[in-house]
């Protein structure tokens, strides 16, 4: 436990700003496609509206369906505590917490999938199957990226990999780390159900991947799931910022300012990708993820080759 003030503030900043990051992405997309678009803070209004409503549960569902939304947010919060959001130390740090990070997200997804299957809807089952397929491929790239960071820093906690000692290794491994950043961004788009993999704005159940799984959730449950997705985007975005901009030498205030600016840039990046790219056909998605993984593999080979 490292409850230093900057770490706590950075954590709260990410929790509070998360819906705005998703809002920036949507806003960028609407501006680039010449539409007026919803306000940047629309997700906050949506969450507020949903929280005040009651929830409707199908008679075929069990406790899993009611439990899943809480667990989704809880696991993402857990994952957020092991990421050094302020650029130095995470709230919780232990040896091998990178694996905990990956599987906390995995556990949340597992329960989301169970809840989708629990409704008995065939559309939701289809979405669940696609989501799990893509997620298993994301893992390859994620762990190759972690492996590269481990080789670079000789640390096996995320705080060690991305926190204070990390900056020393940047100059020697700049090319590999830029590739890791690119790989993580590609994985973020897949993990957060963004455009080349999934389209958050689609209205047809057959083409949905992530969105179709949450069709039966309503009221506060839906609010939790929407907030969870936004939070996941923000946490993964913060991780990319930590890889690309080591902040250990900045003052805490400057570090948090960089984090906030970085999150906005990530949001804009996601929005730009959504505006200029069409969604990939489903059989093409594994190729996209394999491409991202080979990027990570290449950087791993590179740092093993040149362990300076």
């Amino acid at each position: 436990m490292n409850f230093t003030t900057p770490a706590v503030i950075a954590f709260l900043v990410v929790l509070l700003l998360a819906p705005a990051v998703a809002g920036v992405a949507t806003r960028t997309k609407s501006l680039l496609t010449g539409r007026k678009g919803a306000p940047t803070l629309q997700l906050y209004f949506d969450l507020w509206k949903l929280v005040q409503r009651g929830a409707v549960f199908s008679e075929t569902t069990t406790w899993i369906f009611r439990f899943a939304p809480v667990l989704v947010v809880a696991t993402i919060l857990l994952a957020a505590t092991v990421v050094p959001l302020d650029g130095r130390l995470s709230l919780i740090k232990f040896s091998g917490d990178a694996v905990a990070f990956a599987y906390a997200l995995g556990l949340g997804r597992f329960f989301l999938v169970l809840a989708a299957l629990d409704t008995g809807s065939s559309f939701e089952g289809m979405g669940a199957s696609r989501e799990v397929t893509f997620a298993s491929l994301v893992e390859v790239g994620l762990f190759l990226s972690f492996g590269t960071l481990v080789v670079v820093t000789h640390e096996i906690s995320l705080s060690g990999m991305l926190g204070a000692p990390f900056a020393l290794h940047w100059t020697a491994n700049a090319a590999a780390l830029v590739m890791i950043g690119a790989c993580l961004f590609a994985l973020l788009l897949a993990e957060c159900a963004r455009v080349p993999v999934d389209d958050p704005a689609t209205h047809l159940e057959l083409t949905m991947v992530h969105e179709v799984m949450v069709l039966d959730h309503s009221g506060p449950d839906l609010a939790l799931i929407l907030y969870g997705s936004a939070l996941k985007l923000a946490v993964l975005g913060a991780m990319i910022i930590s890889v690309l901009i080591p902040r250990a030498n900045l003052s805490p205030a400057a570090s948090i300012a960089v984090l906030m600016l970085g999150l906005i840039v990530v949001g804009i990046g996601v929005g730009i990708v959504e505006s200029i790219m069409a969604r990939l056909r489903l059989p093409k998605v594994p190729l996209y993820l394999a491409g991202a993984s080979s990027l990570a593999l290449f950087s791993l080979i590179l740092v093993l080759w040149n362990p300076a």
Binding site: L287, A290, G291, S294, L297, F298, I301, W305
Partner: protein, 213 residues
């Protein structure tokens, strides 16, 4: 400075190798191989030894041939012969990508057993990767046009390898550039003989069945 620029350019070459492996459109493949040609042209400028007229001429010649003339030829071939714009691989894109990743591992593994002088920089492993991925493309793609792209990549790999010797044996490098002429002739062959018109296909797998009946 020069050293890190060299590393960066070599990484770009590997990334273009993979981009060609993963692209499903002929025009995209040609665009990537043109980019690779341009990066390749800059390479001799940043290797140690400083700028001499010989090196600058080599760079300009390479960029002109590899980034403009040959890709231009290929685009013209596609347009003239009205070839379908997809790659249509024999081994799927996913499989090719895995083969490419295996080639990457093999190249670095092989280089690590080489003498000290070869292990100093990324030049040798990148040359090997480019040669191997060029081979993968030659073997796994059925269309003649994309096989030419694979051949060009193979030749690019040999060129990178020759770069390690460029100071001592400039002739070898120039011979590499001359090999490009052969590629040019190869492309011309596709168009001039109008394989497509004669046999309704430029798929190399069908060329084995040519016989008078």
């Amino acid at each position: 400075m020069t050293h890190s620029t060299l590393q960066l350019l070599l990484l770009l070459i590997v990334l273009t190798d993979f981009a060609v492996l993963g692209s499903s459109r002929l025009s995209a493949c040609i665009r990537w191989i043109a980019l690779q040609g341009a990066v390749l042209g800059i390479l001799p400028l940043v290797t140690e030894g400083g700028l001499t007229i010989h090196v600058v001429a080599l760079a300009i010649g390479t960029i002109f041939v590899k980034a403009f003339v040959l890709p231009g030829f290929l685009r013209w071939a596609i347009r003239e012969a009205a070839i379908r714009r997809e790659v249509e691989p024999l081994v799927g894109y996913m499989g090719s990508m895995l083969l490419g990743a295996a080639a990457l591992g093999a190249a670095f593994a092989v280089t690590s057993t080489m003498p000290e002088s070869a292990r100093g920089s990324l030049v040798v492993p990148v040359a090997l990767v480019t040669v191997m991925i060029g081979m993968v493309i030659l073997i796994t793609r059925a269309k003649a046009v994309i096989q030419v792209v694979g051949y060009m990549m193979l030749e690019n790999g040999i060129y990178i390898f020759g770069l390690t010797l460029a100071r001592r044996v400039p002739f070898l490098v120039e011979a590499g550039v001359l090999l490009d002429v052969f590629v040019g002739v190869f492309i011309m062959g596709i168009v001039v003989f109008h394989i497509n018109r004669e046999f309704d296909s430029i798929s190399a797998s069908k060329l084995t069945e040519l016989r008078e009946s």
